[in-house]
C-alpha cells in the first residue's frame, strides 16, 4: 500500500490517525494541531489567563499533568503569555504508586525548569492514604482522597502565592462528568462542569486547558514526544462512543455547554461559609476535610460522611487538626469585583 500523505501538510507521510477527527497526519502536524487547539482553548473569548499571572500546574506525574506542563511551557514561550509557571504536586502517601510518580514529577521539574512544591497529606492532615485505607477499607477511600486532595491543591497554591491552578482534565473526563451529572440528577454541577474556568467565592481559580483534548491524543503526544510520565490504568474507556462517532466526546461537551438551568435551581444552592476549624471554604460549619479527619481520628469511618456530629468548632482533645487556611493576600487585577471586597475584608480582619 502506498504511503498516505499527511492530510494537513500534504507532504510528509502520515503516521497517525487522529482519534478526534479521523484524519491521517504526520508527527509534526499532529504536534502542531494538538498544541494549536490547546492554544485556541486558552485564548478563546477573554482568555483563561492574564499576563503576569502565577499559575500552578497540578502535577501528579501522570500523562495528563506531564503533557500539560510540557505544552504550557511551550505555548507560554511561543505565544508570550507571560505566565509564571509552577509545578504543584500532592503526595497522598500511597507507597509504591506515589513514590514513583513523585519521582516523575521531580524529573519534570528538571526537564521544564519549573519550581516544584510538594505537599503531602501527612504533613497537612497527619494521615497518609495507606493509613486511611487501613482504617476505612477500600470502598470509600476515594471520597477521602478526593476531599483531601482538593483542599491540598488549594493550600499548596496559597503557599506558593499563586492566582490560578490548572489541571489536566481532558475532554473524556468532562464528557464523562456531563453524562454522569445528568444521570445522577446533579443539576448544580451540570451547569458548571463544562466551564473552562471555575471559581467559587474564595477558592483559587481552576482551569482546564485540555478541555477539548482527547485522552487518547494526550497519550499519543506524550508517546511521540517521548515525555516521561508514570502510567496509570485507564479505568473508564469511552471506546464505544468513539468507535461509532469520533466527535461524540466533543459533541457531549458542546451539549453540556449549551445547558441552561432553571432559575430556581440556582437560587437554591447553598451559600458558602468558612469552616470554623480551619478556615477553608465550606457549606457547613465544618468543612468536609475537617469532618472526615475527625472521623478518622475517632476511629470511625463512614459515619463521618454524614456530617452528623460536625458541630463544634473545636476538635476533641488529642485529635490532629488541619492548619488554618491562609487566604492569599495579593489582591491583583485578576480578582473579579466581588472578590476584591472579600479580600479587603479579609485583610482588615487580620
Amino acid at each position: 500500500m502506498p504511503p498516505t500523505p499527511c492530510s494537513l501538510c500534504h507532504t510528509a507521510r502520515a503516521l497517525v490517525k487522529r482519534p478526534k477527527t479521523g484524519q491521517q497526519v504526520c508527527k509534526d502536524c499532529f504536534f502542531e494541531v494538538f498544541e494549536t487547539e490547546v492554544h485556541n482553548t486558552i485564548v478563546e473569548g477573554k482568555g483563561i489567563f492574564e499576563r503576569g499571572e502565577k499559575v500552578a500546574i497540578g502535577a501528579s506525574g501522570g500523562k495528563d499533568s506531564t503533557v500539560l506542563a510540557h505544552v504550557l511551557s511551550v505555548l507560554n514561550k511561543r505565544y508570550h503569555y507571560g505566565l509564571d509557571l509552577f509545578l504543584l504536586s500532592i503526595d497522598e502517601g500511597i507507597t509504591g504508586y506515589r513514590d514513583d510518580s513523585l519521582e516523575t514529577v521531580k524529573q519534570n521539574q528538571i526537564e521544564y525548569g519549573l519550581p516544584l512544591k510538594i505537599l503531602s497529606y501527612n504533613e497537612l492532615y497527619g494521615w497518609t492514604m495507606d493509613k486511611i485505607v487501613e482504617q476505612v477499607g477500600r470502598r470509600n477511600n476515594c471520597t477521602f482522597c478526593g476531599v483531601f486532595r482538593r483542599q491540598a491543591l488549594d493550600r499548596g497554591a496559597a503557599q506558593l502565592g499563586v492566582d490560578h491552578i490548572v489541571t489536566g482534565h481532558n475532554a473524556d473526563d468532562i464528557a464523562e462528568t456531563v453524562l454522569m451529572n445528568i444521570m445522577r440528577g446533579d443539576i448544580a454541577r451540570l451547569g458548571r462542569c463544562t466551564a473552562v474556568t471555575t471559581q467559587s467565592e474564595d477558592t483559587i481559580k481552576r482551569s482546564k486547558p485540555f478541555k477539548y483534548a482527547y485522552e487518547k491524543e494526550i497519550v499519543m503526544y506524550a508517546y511521540f514526544k517521548k515525555l516521561t510520565y508514570f502510567s496509570t490504568e485507564c479505568i473508564y474507556s469511552p471506546d464505544d462512543l468513539e468507535a461509532i462517532r469520533p466527535s461524540a466526546i466533543v459533541d457531549i461537551i458542546h451539549s453540556g455547554e449549551s445547558f441552561q438551568l432553571e432559575q430556581s435551581v440556582q437560587k437554591g444552592m447553598k451559600a458558602m461559609q468558612t469552616c470554623l476549624r480551619c478556615g477553608y471554604i465550606s457549606s457547613n460549619d465544618l468543612c468536609k476535610a475537617c469532618a472526615l479527619l475527625e472521623g478518622l481520628e475517632a476511629g470511625l469511618d463512614r459515619s463521618a460522611l454524614r456530617q452528623t456530629q460536625a458541630n463544634s468548632s473545636n476538635a476533641p482533645t488529642g485529635h490532629r487538626t488541619i492548619p488554618m487556611f491562609e487566604r492569599y493576600s495579593n489582591v491583583g487585577a485578576s480578582q473579579p469585583a466581588e472578590g476584591i471586597e472579600k479580600a479587603v475584608q479579609a485583610i482588615e480582619i487580620k
Partner: protein, 534 residues
C-alpha cells in the same frame, strides 16, 4: 480517570451517597397485595410499587390525564409547573372540548398503540359525525372532533438481517379504521419526502379540496449537496427527476455514515409530521406517545449528538410552535407528550392486557437503514451502530441494577431551559429547530481539520478539476445546527479519488424548501444594497 483526578466539586458529602441505591428486595410491607387497593393480588411492580390489574390500568390513565389535561388548559406551563400537584388538579377530569382535529403519531410501537387505544376508549375523539352527544346514555363529550392518525413506513429502506422488514401500514390501518369513523388514517412512506406530490396526496386522503394553482408550494425544484465535502456545498437539483423517491432516499442513506442514519430518519419523521399538520387546517394539537424511558434515552443520546441547545424544546411536554402556511400567515400548533410519565414497561403491559400484543412492533431497526456491512463502518458494543442504540442498551441495562435511572435522568432533563427566543431564531433547514449560535465556528475551533500555516496544494489542482465547482457554492454547513452538522459531516478520511469526483446528492424536498426560504430572507435583508437585479 484515576482516583486522584476527581473533577472539581465532586469531592463533597454527596460522594458518599453518590452511588444510587442498588435494588434491594425490601420486604417492609406485604408486596403480594396491591399497594393501592390493598386487597387484590399484586400483578405488576412499577418503580417499586405493586399494583393489581385494576389499579394498574387506573394508575396509567391517571398519570396520562395528569400530564395531558393541564397542558391543554394552558400551553404556557413549564415542566416543573406541570408537576406541581395543585396545578395538575386544575386539569380536571376532562379537558375542555377543543373541537377540530388532533394529529396522533402512530409508530406501531407499544406506546402509540396504547395512547390511541386509551383515547378512543375514553371517548376523547369524536365519532366524526359531529352529532350532539347524549350524556344520559353515559356518552362523553369528545375533546376533538376527529383524529388524524399518521403512520410513516420505513420498511423500504431498512435492511433487516433477520427477515424482510415488513410494511405494517395495512395491518395498522385495519385496526384504526375498525375503531370508528372519527379516525382518519394517513399512511405515508419515508421516501415521500422526495415526492413533489406529497401535499396533494395528503390533501386527497384527508378530503381537502385541491390547492389553487398559484398557491401550491413549489416543492418540485430540489436542492442537492456534496456530502463528501465538509463545507457541504449546495448545487441546484440535478435533473435526475427520473429517479424515483425511493431511489433518492436510498442514495442519500448510502452516502451518509451508518451512525448518522437514525438521526436523519428521525428528521424525516419530524418533517412529515410537521407537513401533515400544516396541511390540515383545523389541527391544533399533535400528540406524540413518547414514554419516560424513551425520553431518558433522547436526553442522553441528544447530549452525545451535540443537541444540547434544543433538547429542552424536544423534551418538554408542551412544545408550541408557529407554522407558516401557504398564504404566509402563521398558525400555532402544540406538540404534546402525554405519556411522559409512563414507562415503556407499563405500556407494554397495557397492550398485552388489551390483547394488542400481535399488533405491536417495538423494533424500529433504524440501525439497519441503508446499505449494511460497508467497509469502514465501525460498531460499538452489542453490534450497535448508532449512538441512539448504544444509549438505549446502556439505559436498559442500567435500569436493571438502578431502577431510579430513568426518572432521575428525566428530572434532570426537566430542569433544562431553552435560552433563545424561539420566534426570532434562525432555524436549521433540516431539523427546523433553532440553530445554536456559532455552531460551525465552535466545531472548527475545537477540532482543527486544517492548519493555517499549511497551504493546500490541492487548491492549485482544484482549479483544473471539478472540485472548483464546490468553492463558489453556498455552504449548507453554515446553515445547520450543531447536531445536524454532526449528522452530515463526512468522515474526514476521504480518499483523494473520491474528492475529485463531485457527486451531489439530492436533499429531501423540505430541506430544499427551507434553504430557498433562507436565501430569500437573506436577499431581502440586503435588497437595498444590490445594484443589479438578478
Amino acid at each position: 480517570m484515576s482516583c486522584g483526578d476527581i473533577p472539581d466539586g465532586l469531592a463533597t458529602e454527596e460522594q458518599g451517597e453518590a452511588l444510587m441505591p442498588r435494588r434491594v428486595k425490601v420486604q417492609r410491607f406485604d408486596k403480594s397485595k396491591c399497594q393501592k387497593c390493598r386487597t387484590a393480588k399484586s400483578m405488576y411492580i412499577i418503580r417499586n410499587v405493586t399494583y393489581c390489574k385494576e389499579c394498574f390500568s387506573h394508575s396509567l390513565f391517571t398519570r396520562l390525564t395528569r400530564t395531558l389535561h393541564p397542558a391543554m388548559r394552558s400551553t404556557n406551563l413549564t415542566s416543573s409547573e406541570l408537576k406541581n400537584k395543585s396545578l395538575a388538579s386544575i386539569g380536571g377530569n376532562r379537558p375542555l372540548p377543543q373541537g377540530g382535529s388532533v394529529l396522533i403519531g402512530l409508530s406501531g410501537g407499544s406506546s402509540s398503540i396504547a395512547l390511541l387505544d386509551i383515547l378512543v376508549e375514553r371517548e376523547y375523539i369524536g365519532k366524526g359525525d359531529g352529532r350532539v352527544i347524549d350524556r344520559t346514555k353515559g356518552e362523553k363529550q369528545p375533546v376533538w372532533d376527529r383524529g388524524i392518525i399518521l403512520h410513516v413506513d420505513f420498511s423500504d429502506v431498512i435492511e433487516n438481517p433477520i427477515s424482510k422488514e415488513e410494511d405494517r401500514s395495512e395491518e395498522l390501518k385495519k385496526w384504526v379504521e375498525g375503531k370508528g369513523n372519527g379516525l382518519v388514517w394517513v399512511g405515508l412512506k419515508a421516501e415521500d419526502v422526495y415526492d413533489g406530490g406529497l401535499r396533494k396526496k395528503i390533501r386527497g386522503i384527508v378530503g381537502l379540496p385541491k390547492e389553487a394553482e398559484g398557491e401550491e408550494r413549489v416543492d418540485g425544484d430540489g436542492v442537492a449537496v456534496d456530502l463528501k465535502n465538509p463545507d457541504l456545498p449546495l448545487f441546484p437539483s440535478s435533473s435526475s427527476s427520473s429517479s424515483t423517491p425511493i431511489d433518492q432516499l436510498r442514495s442519500i442513506l448510502s452516502a451518509l455514515p451508518a451512525a448518522s442514519r437514525p438521526s436523519f430518519l428521525s428528521s424525516i419523521l419530524d418533517s412529515l409530521i410537521t407537513t401533515t399538520s400544516q396541511i390540515i387546517p383545523d389541527t391544533k394539537h399533535i400528540l406524540l406517545a413518547e414514554t419516560s424511558t424513551r425520553q431518558a434515552q433522547r436526553l442522553i443520546a441528544g447530549t452525545a449528538l451535540g443537541k444540547g441547545y434544543t433538547l429542552p424544546l424536544d423534551l418538554s411536554v408542551i412544545n408550541k410552535s408557529s407554522l407558516s402556511i401557504t398564504d404566509g400567515s402563521k398558525r400555532d400548533i402544540v406538540r404534546l407528550k402525554p405519556m411522559k410519565d409512563i414507562s415503556f414497561k407499563e405500556v407494554a403491559i397495557y397492550t398485552h392486557l388489551r390483547g394488542l400484543n400481535g399488533l405491536v412492533r417495538n423494533a424500529r431497526n433504524w440501525d439497519n437503514a441503508g446499505p449494511q456491512g460497508r467497509k469502514g463502518d465501525s460498531r460499538g458494543k452489542g453490534n450497535t451502530r448508532s449512538l441512539e442504540s448504544l444509549t438505549e442498551q446502556f439505559i436498559a441495562s442500567l435500569a436493571v441494577t438502578h431502577p431510579a435511572t430513568v426518572s432521575t435522568i428525566n428530572r434532570t432533563g426537566d430542569k433544562l431551559r431553552f435560552t433563545g427566543v424561539k420566534e426570532d431564531e434562525v432555524t436549521c433547514p433540516v431539523c427546523q429547530l433553532p440553530v445554536d449560535p456559532n455552531a460551525l465556528e465552535w466545531k472548527s475551533r475545537t477540532a482543527l481539520t486544517s492548519l493555517p500555516t499549511k497551504t493546500l496544494p490541492q487548491d492549485i489542482g482544484a482549479v483544473t478539476n471539478g472540485v472548483e465547482q464546490g468553492k463558489d457554492k453556498e455552504s449548507l454547513a453554515k446553515m445547520l445546527c450543531y447536531a445536524c452538522l454532526t449528522t452530515f459531516t463526512p468522515p474526514t478520511v476521504v480518499s483523494k479519488v473520491a474528492r475529485t469526483e463531485v457527486v451531489p446528492i439530492q436533499l429531501p424536498l423540505w430541506v430544499g424548501g427551507n434553504v430557498r426560504d433562507r436565501r430569500r430572507e437573506m436577499r431581502e435583508e440586503i435588497k437595498g444594497f444590490l445594484i443589479d437585479e438578478e
